[in-house]
């Protein structure tokens, strides 16, 4: 196995040190290491973070290989500094059986760019009517612990209650896409000043908040663990803060795009800004940043949602919802959280690695950066400045809202259990070299 000596890297932004990676683990940490390694990397001015963990990724395979495959999606994840992603269940067929989750898990193993942890559907076919075989998915080779009908809300209160209760048997968690369906019929964008002027169907904040309020109460009632996907409003933050203050086992994630972009962008009618939940207001953005900073929101999750060009190159109403985000997530977090002084790099490691790994019960990820730990690491250059160029993306799709935008920072290298998946900003070969 290739060994790596990383020179002068700043662990979590600290003083420069050397790291020796060999045999899949961090072998040594210190200054002026004399060790002999196959590849030496000058990491001066680079920051070392634990490999990032995404709780919310759409890899599209099986079914929509024109948008993304497990291979292209995980390569994009590695380019973004991720060593583990949770693959959402809304594929075709839906990941609602042991067979499908095992297939996705196996494709991830074969691709080798990052660990793929399949998410199982809560209900059969995401239809919200009948529980899927949650236990079978858990017992499969994919060892599913996160269950979600993401894309759709488990809006039936009884079904949601049962799901929350049932997965307790194997320490599972239900990740809810909070969207009251009746309040969002025909919804096209955030309901507010801009939707009124543009004449686009509104997606009101209350449609998210009312479901979250119900779900935290349900989780408390049955003593279960609840995870809230892509929180997008200031009101949702207040409810989650209240639930946590009660001591209830509720966690939440926010997407990079909800930390940076607002619904004012929709005035262009450019569907690249169409996403679900929709871009909200500047007040919501500020509340989400504050909540991520104080830990009310536990994690940044990308909701990476690739779509082929024709699904965005059209009028707003018929365009698909979603944005790619794996390769820009860390840069957006640097811009919105680090450069603003809201989080230091330790905080970034916590929200993008430690906590999401803990929520997903991924024991091999989100570990401390110390000797003997699995070498799941990112080398990140925070001084880099450059315009986002979608043509350079590893993802198969190009639906990024950041095209041409100057974002700070870029991933220099990513290591998965001691093997480079990205080196010098390029995807690495299976043997860990470029």
């Amino acid at each position: 196995m290739t060994s790596y000596l990383i020179r002068n890297a700043q662990i979590l932004g600290g003083a420069p040190q050397d790291l020796l990676l060999a045999d899949g683990v961090i072998k040594e940490i210190g200054t002026g290491l004399a060790a002999d390694a196959d590849i030496e990397i000058d990491a001066t001015a680079l920051i070392v973070l634990p490999g990032l963990v995404d709780l919310h990724t759409h890899l599209r395979e099986p079914g929509r290989e024109d948008a993304e495959t497990v291979l292209t999606g995980t390569r994009a994840a590695a380019m973004g500094g991720f060593t583990a992603v949770h693959a959402m269940a809304n594929t075709t067929p839906v990941a609602d059986t042991a067979g499908v989750v095992e297939q996705v898990w196996r494709l991830g193993q074969e691709a080798g760019y990052c660990d793929v942890q399949p998410v199982g559907a809560v209900t059969v076919g995401l239809e919200g009517k009948k529980l899927a075989e949650l236990g079978a998915m858990h017992e499969s080779a994919a060892n599913v612990r996160v269950f979600s009908d993401d894309g759709k809300c488990v809006d039936d209160a009884v079904l949601m209650r049962r799901a929350l209760e049932y997965v307790k048997a194997f320490d599972g968690v239900v990740a809810q896409h909070a969207q009251e369906p009746r309040l969002t019929e025909g919804a096209q964008m955030n309901e507010g000043q801009v939707s009124g002027e543009l004449g686009l169907g509104g997606w009101p904040a209350v449609a998210e908040e009312s479901i979250i309020a119900r779900d935290v109460l349900l989780a408390a009632h049955v003593g279960s663990r609840l995870h809230v996907c892509h929180v997008s409003t200031a009101g949702s933050v207040e409810i989650i803060r209240w639930a946590k203050a009660k001591g209830w086992d509720v966690t939440a994630e926010v997407t990079p795009h909800h930390l940076l972009l607002t619904d004012e962008l929709v005035r262009s009618y450019d569907p690249v800004y169409k996403v679900n939940p929709p871009l909200r207001t500047a007040e919501d953005v500020q509340a989400l940043r504050a909540a991520l900073a104080d830990g009310t929101i536990d994690a940044v999750a990308t909701d990476h949602a690739p779509h082929p060009a024709e699904d965005k190159d059209c009028e707003w109403a018929v365009a698909a919802m979603g944005m790619v985000g794996l390769e820009t997530a860390l840069s957006v977090v640097q811009q919105t959280m680090v450069d603003t002084g809201l989080l230091n790099w330790e905080g970034v490691a916590d929200r993008m690695s430690h906590r999401p790994a803990r929520i997903g019960r991924l024991t091999g990820h989100g570990r401390p950066i110390s000797v003997g730990e699995p070498a799941n690491l990112v080398l990140f250059d925070p001084a880099y400045r450059g315009a986002v160029n979608p043509d350079s993306f590893a993802t198969r799709s190009r639906n990024t809202p950041y095209k041409g935008l100057d974002l700070p920072g870029r991933v220099h290298a990513t290591f998965l259990r001691g093997r480079a998946t990205v080196l010098a900003g390029e995807p690495a070969e299976q043997d860990g070299t470029v």
């Binding site: 096209q188 507010g192 000043q193 009124g196 004449g199 686009l200 190159d313 059209c314 707003w316």
Partner: protein, 329 residues
């Protein structure tokens, strides 16, 4: 003036007055035996209608023909669009055929804006109504009609005139275009509707809001009734047709509350018995039919100005033809 007419907000006061004054001149044509000018001879205008529309489409077509343009009607029904062709491919096709201007009616809010911003076609885009967004030529013909009654004369605006717009503002592209244009022209706009039919955030629009029609009537110079679709009550926007009519419908008794000179307008199609009674619709104060005639004049003015009569502030119009095929060397 901008190269496209997508939103009434694109028009400055000078732009709007130029269109209205030009329309007044062109209106004189309709009194002649030969109602045709050679102005747009050799120019191609495409009417691209993705949504059924009889009056707007006919109005544009009459306007185009009176200016001698070559008119192509492209309806979504029975065309490649109904077979799944995208807006982009339709636009590229029209571009290849050499459209100098495209008049578009679309059920999706923002479709004309997408066409105007894209490089799919180079001619002027004229919004003939998009979803629940805007319908700028309707606002222009409404302003034209109001000016004739309330402040006639070239160069005149609507300063201080009180316009009350009643009905389904939430779903109305006419209301959105009107609030922009009427405000630009100095009028004071009041929307009257049940709260369910007003969009969120309307309190920040440049207008007044009232839930009580009767209290607003005496302070109205022009009253515009918007169509209210019966299906809305199935989505609980209001309880019944009768209750809507009682609270927000225009009838003879309410007409008597209007000031003497006030006019009653309707963009059509009217739902008689719902938002307006026959007594009001057929009264001499109702300008619905006059609005249709004015629509032709206003659309002629817009076409004339966008196809060569006006100076654009956002760059010259690209020649609406495909580039000549480069010969291989």
């Amino acid at each position: 003036m901008k190269r496209h007419l997508v939103s009434a907000a694109d028009l400055s006061r000078d732009d709007a007055l130029l269109i209205l004054d030009t329309a007044e001149e062109l209106a004189q044509l309709s009194g002649r035996a030969v109602k045709k000018l050679p102005t747009l001879r050799g120019r191609t205008v495409v009417n691209l209608f993705f949504e059924d529309s009889t009056r707007t489409k006919t109005s544009f077509e009459v306007a185009e023909k009176r200016l001698s343009a070559d008119v192509i009607n492209f309806s979504a029904k029975g065309s490649s669009v109904s077979k799944g062709e995208s807006l982009k491919d339709t636009a590229l096709t029209l571009q290849a055929m050499g459209a100098d201007a495209v008049v578009i009616r679309h059920h999706a809010s923002g479709a004309p804006a997408r066409l105007a911003q894209s490089d799919w076609l180079h001619g002027s885009v004229i919004n003939a109504g998009d979803g629940t967004h805007e319908h700028p030529t309707q606002a222009l013909l409404d302003a034209f009609t109001m000016r004739r009654h309330l402040n006639p004369g070239a160069g005149h605006d609507l300063a201080g005139r009180r316009v009350t717009i009643v009905g389904d503002v939430l779903h109305s592209r006419v209301a959105r275009s009107n609030v922009h244009l009427l405000t630009t022209l100095g009028a004071q706009v009041t929307f009257v509707a049940p709260p369910t039919l007003l969009p969120i955030g309307i309190q920040n629009w440049p207008c007044e809001i009232s839930y009580d029609l009767d209290s607003v009537l005496p302070k109205t110079d022009a009253l515009m009734m918007l169509r209210v679709q019966r299906e809305r009550m199935n989505a609980a926007f209001f309880p019944t047709e009768r209750e809507y009519s009682r609270r927000y419908g225009m009838n003879g008794l309410r007409m008597a509350q209007l000031p003497e000179q006030a006019i009653v307008m309707h963009p059509g199609p009217m739902v008689r018995g719902m938002e307006i009674t026959a007594e009001v619709a057929d009264s001499p104060r109702c300008t619905a039919v006059e609005q249709v005639a004015n629509g032709v004049s206003v659309r002629m003015a817009v076409l004339y100005l966008l196809l060569g009569g006006a100076v654009f502030t956002d760059g010259p119009a690209d020649p609406a033809r495909t580039d000549s095929v480069e010969t291989a060397q």
